[in-house]
């Protein structure tokens, strides 16, 4: 939260419409998400002229209140309301926090034209038992009746709620930084606050010796303030702190927070008497312990940076101080630390300890040493003024900060080259002035110095183009297209295969669905027909999203159930998605589910039901489309989740690439059929190029034959023998009839065989010879007899 009253300390905003300003700031790249004003209409200072008990209540009072223009009757329940008191009155039409609108009405029969308020009801204090018991706010006697109450309280403020991109959150989340951004937008200069104080002639170096034994602390500045008096902060500091969303505690703590919110630089106050003579900054030892200010014992690691008294830690750098050096109500002497620590380390430590504070966040974003020094001076000045402290002379300082200035030489042409704009040198000068970036223009070259407060701006063309471009305005951008070579865009890698499969399955009547990759453990282990190990997330959000699925089928079954529950019939769906196993191996899968009716017309007796053979047909159609004709077959397989008699492994070149079957009746009582193919396996198989093949000019000869075979013998087994025996001339085998139980335990299987030669007309004799051979082979190799 940025308080605009506060920002006004550093930049002149006289006459600016703050809502419009928020829009301007947003358009320049810092997103002001909300403009909150705590101005409340119809809220005035009033004087209670008369106060009597409500005739119909044991705690309510009926008051006559002078609100300036008139005197109104208000019923009030506060125990401290009395005649002569100056109060805050919300008149009808006032809308209090929580969208609570005040209306004129009657309370237990007595007219009430408003409400006498407590501070918590105005959002100026938290609602606690304490503030509630305080009752209504009692204003000083000299409060002018009729005046706007918020204005009287000095709380009439406008707050900006920022949603700042990570880049800029090191310089836009403190008031001076944000004042600079407003200055940039408006082209106005920022004035820094004064920080003057007197020093007593006693050097801090007489009391504290600073040693820094880590390279993760480039800057450490210490000063000492003696004889502070702990007490309440002045109202203006309290108001600022509340406005920015923090809670006032006491003058010393509040000053530290105030300066942090002002300069973005956190400081830490040690009780100097508890601290001892040494301040040693070093990496923590493994398993070193410190009880932090929240009274929790923390176990440290060498990844952490600590402040120590030479032996034991007194503070986890940038994260939280230790109990052993805490400033408390008896503290007299304070050692102030203003430092810069390695940002990554602070973030890591605060994440590991789950200790995140305004301070640790700011350390974690990087700091500007100029403001570290300014913040120290500001702390000393405020402690002198508001805590009666005596500032000792001298500082303890460790400073290895690289102070080389960030400069860059750039031309307007360079900037236009990045942006595609048509700015002139004058345009660029204007924007640099607004940015308050010092520069010299030599010929056409700008020599620009980047101020340290802009940690995010690096000395390169693109960064400068961004800063200047955003101010010049992206509304000046034209629509151009890249001037690049012409080429055809292609699907790279398995994307082409995925697209082909997806489109084909849609043509075949299946609708694409998308489901979640992360599933609960039982789902992840379902349909694990390849016996892989499931990959678990080490830190899941919840147990129902704790595992990476191995198969898409459970998700399709879930989609089936979801639709069935919504009375959707004939669910025919597919999904293509990646799966990962415990060894992180990827398997891109295609899953299908069919159920109900595939195609029907009741009036016209068309009824193609979803069954095993329909799904088999879809798969064969797909595989043929992909170029696998004559290379696939189906083998019986056992998959726990599939019907043992209605399931198969899908093979290409005799290697399994997937499964097909009816979902096991114990799992789903509905007849639903599923299949899953490994697209990764298909992708790794080569197919022949597509070629034209002339249709045979010679006639084909067809012969029918039927065999009586045991019920268990499969079509595939019979066809295999026929195919082998038929040799080169046998072009096609079609099964056209099955007659089960033609005799006990036996069935009849009837085939139509097609004989053909692409180069000549076949004679009846040679066909008969082959045909007879087929019969002979089937009878001799299988338990089969020609059906008479």
């Amino acid at each position: 939260m940025i308080s605009l009253n506060w920002v006004k300390d550093y930049i002149d905003l006289e006459g600016e419409d703050l809502v419009e300003l928020a829009d301007k700031v947003t358009k320049a790249g810092i997103n002001v998400e909300g403009v909150v004003t705590n101005h409340i209409n119809n809220l005035v200072v009033g004087e209670v002229l008369e106060c009597v008990d409500h005739p119909d209540s044991d705690h309510l009072h009926v008051c006559k209140v002078n609100v300036g223009k008139e005197t109104v009757q208000i019923v009030c329940g506060a125990p401290n309301v009395r005649a002569g008191l100056k109060v805050i009155v919300a008149l009808p039409g006032a809308v209090l926090p929580g969208d609570f609108e005040i209306k004129a009405g009657k309370i237990r029969g007595e007219e009430s034209n408003g409400m006498i308020c407590a501070l918590f009801e105005l959002g100026l204090e938290e609602k606690t038992e304490e503030t509630y018991n305080k009752g209504i706010e009692e204003l000083p006697e000299d409060a002018p009746v009729g005046m706007d109450a918020m204005e009287y309280l000095g709380c009439d403020d406008t707050l900006y709620e920022l949603d700042v991109h990570k880049h800029r959150n090191n310089d836009c989340y403190y008031h001076i930084g944000f004042a600079h951004e407003i200055g940039t937008v408006l082209g106005k200069k920022v004035t820094y606050p004064e920080a003057k104080y007197d020093e007593v002639k006693d050097d801090v170096n007489n009391y504290v010796e600073l040693k820094v034994e880590t390279d993760r602390c480039p800057f450490y500045l210490g000063k000492m303030v003696r004889n502070v008096k702990i007490g309440e902060s002045p109202e203006w500091i309290k108001k600022r702190i509340i406005a920015a969303g923090m809670r006032p505690i006491n003058n010393v703590v509040d000053i530290s927070n105030f300066v942090m919110l002002e300069y973005g630089q956190p400081t830490h106050f040690f009780d100097a008497d508890k601290l001892g003579k040494t301040v040693l900054v070093r990496d923590a030892y493994a398993d070193e312990k410190l009880v932090t200010l929240d009274e929790v014992e923390r176990t440290l690691s060498p990844a952490d940076i600590v402040i120590t008294d030479g032996n034991v830690p007194t503070c986890i750098a940038g994260v939280m101080g230790g109990m052993n050096t805490e400033v408390d109500e008896n503290t007299k002497n304070i050692f102030i630390e203003a430092a810069i620590f390695d940002a990554f380390s602070i973030t890591k430590t605060s994440n590991r300890l789950n200790l995140k504070s305004e301070a640790s966040r700011r350390y974690g974003k990087g700091l500007n040493y100029e403001y570290t020094i300014a913040a120290m001076d500001r702390c000393c000045a405020l402690l002198q003024e508001y805590a009666s402290g005596e500032v000792l002379s001298g500082t303890v300082l460790h400073d290895t900060v690289d102070k080389t200035e960030k400069t860059i030489d750039v031309t307007t042409e360079d900037l236009n080259g990045v942006l595609g704009m048509h700015m002139t040198n004058e345009d660029v000068e204007k924007q640099l002035d607004k940015l308050d970036f010092p520069y010299e223009l030599n010929g056409d070259t700008f020599h620009i110095t980047i101020p340290r407060r802009r940690l995010d701006v690096e000395p390169n063309k693109a960064d400068l183009a961004e800063e200047i471009g955003r101010l010049y305005g992206y509304n000046n951008l034209e629509d151009t297209l890249p001037v690049v070579g012409t080429k055809r865009g292609v699907y790279v890698g398995d994307v082409a295969l995925r697209k082909s499969i997806s489109k084909r399955l849609r043509q075949l009547g299946l609708t694409e669905v998308r489901t979640y990759t992360l599933v609960p453990e039982d789902v992840a282990n379902s349909f694990n027909y390849d016996n892989k190990e499931v990959l678990a997330l080490p830190n899941p959000m919840s147990s129902d999203k704790g595992y990476l699925r191995l198969s898409l089928l459970p998700s399709l079954i879930q989609t089936y159930e979801y639709n069935k529950a919504r009375k959707v019939e004939n669910i025919n769906i597919y999904e293509i998605a990646k799966t990962y196993d415990k060894d992180y191996v990827e398997d891109h899968k295609v899953a299908m589910l069919i159920s109900g009716t595939y195609m029907a017309n009741a009036v016209n007796q068309v009824n193609v039901k979803a069954d095993f053979y329909l799904l088999k047909g879809i798969i064969e159609n797909l595989l043929k489309y992909l170029g696998f004709k004559n290379r696939y077959d189906f083998q019986k397989v056992e998959v726990k989740e599939l019907h043992p008699g209605v399931s198969a492994s899908i093979m290409i070149d005799r290697k399994p690439v997937g499964i097909i079957g009816r979902v096991h009746p114990s799992m789903m009582k509905d007849n639903i059929y599923v299949a899953e193919l490994s697209m990764t396996a298909l992708y790794n198989l080569k197919t022949k190029p597509l070629k034209f093949k002339e249709a045979s000019k010679y006639p084909e000869i067809k012969k029918d034959v039927a065999f009586v075979v045991p019920n268990e013998l499969t079509n595939a087994e019979i066809e295999a023998v026929i195919k082998h025996a038929g040799g080169r001339l046998l072009d096609n085998i079609d099964i056209f009839d099955i007659y089960r139980d033609i005799e006990p335990g036996k069935k009849s299987m009837a085939y139509n065989l097609t004989f053909k030669d692409d180069t000549r007309t076949l004679s009846d004799e040679e066909v008969m010879q082959v045909f007879n051979n087929v019969i002979k082979e089937v009878e001799s190799k299988l338990d089969a007899k020609l059906r008479g």
């Binding site: 320049a28 790249g29 990570k166 800029r168 940002a343 994440n351 974003k365 990045v418 942006l419 595609g420 995010d456 690096e458 693109a462 183009a465 961004e466 471009g469 992206y474 951008l477 034209e478 629509d479 151009t480 297209l481 890249p482 001037v483 690049v484 070579g485 012409t486 080429k487 055809r488 865009g489 790279v492 890698g493 994307v495 849609r506 075949l508 009547g509 609708t511 694409e512 669905v513 998308r514 489901t515 979640y516 990759t517 990959l535 997330l537 080490p538 830190n539 959000m541 990476l548 919504r566 959707v568 669910i571 769906i573 998605a577 990646k578 992180y584 195609m599 017309n601 009036v603 016209n604």
Partner: protein
């Protein structure tokens, strides 16, 4: 002879009135012009006549035969037509009965949006690339200017799978890093990479821990921010209509500099202000920018020679805006009644 012929013809004209069926036609043909029909018979005793007479008779009989054939033929045609008409009448169906519905499937709504992007970008020479969803930290963060421990990293938002090395990609940008690093810094890049990404978000109407990004990248010579704007305008016109206008607002992203937020003019109210655009006339549609120096460098390109832009759209957001969908979970808990509607072509 002439009289005889005339008599036969008039007899035929009488007889033909009673011809009703195809059998009657066969009979009448046999009676007059068949092998021993009345007219054919007239030629039987020709040898009794002189050659001149034969010639004359032959002529008369031929004329008569032609006439008879024509008469019968006309009648036959008439009868066939009647029979056909009767048959057609019998075969007539109730065309108002329901059709046999042909099984066809619909794409996921997200896939439909992705296909729109692919159409536009492939025609402009962009390849469509995919990458692993289980991704290395290096590609997901480090090469994109976010080294380990970098404060701008969304460590808490990311699903780590193995220590801090492997994760479920939190955006599709690692595909860009993979493609760039594979080119040894000396080939241009033009890709889009639609795909899934994951973040630790609690699912609700507007958040989803699994979502679909459509990112694009070009790396070439002299690529400018205005080229990005023109490119974005092309795709937005395709998605939201030819009269769509695009606008850039300054923004900040780690991988791009300058960075922008992309807005389109509201396709619903055309800028007048409505619910969809929250009365601003503009809708934010994605983020983009000029590829950051560090990203180019990190991926092997000399930033002084090469430049590029990158953009990212949310497929869900595009679909929600375009088709008026209010709940992001619609895409992952598919109700087929909602989904099947999308088996349809659209005006482009």
């Amino acid at each position: 002879m002439k009289e005889k012929v005339e008599q036969i013809i008039s007899q035929l004209q009488e007889d033909i009135k009673n011809v009703k069926t195809t059998q009657d036609v066969v009979d009448i043909k046999a009676k007059y012009i068949g092998k021993s029909g009345l007219i054919t018979d007239l030629m039987k005793n020709m040898k009794d006549y002189s050659p001149e007479e034969r010639k004359e008779i032959g002529q008369i009989v031929n004329v008569a035969k032609n006439e008879a054939t024509e008469l019968i033929g006309t009648k036959e045609e008439e009868i066939n037509k009647a029979i056909l008409n009767e048959k057609l009448e019998k075969e007539a169906i109730d065309i108002s009965l329901p059709a046999t519905e042909i099984a066809t499937g619909a794409p996921s709504i997200l896939e439909k949006v992705i296909e729109d992007f692919e159409d536009v970008f492939m025609s402009m020479g962009y390849d469509v690339v995919d990458g692993p969803e289980l991704e290395e930290d290096r590609y997901n963060f480090e090469l994109l200017g976010l080294p380990k421990g970098h404060p701008a990293r969304d460590a808490q938002d990311t699903f780590y799978v193995k220590g801090d090395e492997l994760l479920l990609r939190s955006h599709t940008s690692p595909v860009q890093a993979r493609v760039m690093t594979s080119k040894n810094g000396d080939e241009p890049v033009r890709i889009i990479c639609p795909g899934k990404a994951y973040r630790r978000d609690d699912d609700d109407a507007t958040h989803s821990h699994q979502f679909t990004q459509i990112e694009g990248l070009i790396v070439d010579k002299d690529i400018k921010l205005s080229d990005l704007k023109g490119t974005v305008t092309v795709i937005c016109k395709r998605l939201f209509g030819e009269d769509t206008v695009t606008r850039f607002r300054p923004s900040y992203y780690q991988f791009t500099e300058p960075s922008v937020e992309m807005d389109i003019s509201c396709f619903n109210c055309k800028g007048k202000g409505c619910n969809i655009c929250k009365n601003t006339g503009w809708i934010t549609i994605g983020g983009a920018g000029v590829v950051h120096y560090d990203v180019l460098k990190g991926c092997g390109y000399d930033p002084n020679k090469w430049s590029g832009f990158a953009f990212g759209f949310g497929a869900e957001r595009c679909a929600m805006l375009k088709y008026g969908i209010n709940d992001i979970r619609t895409f992952y808990n598919v109700d087929l009644r909602e989904s099947k509607v999308f088996d349809r072509k659209e005006e482009q």
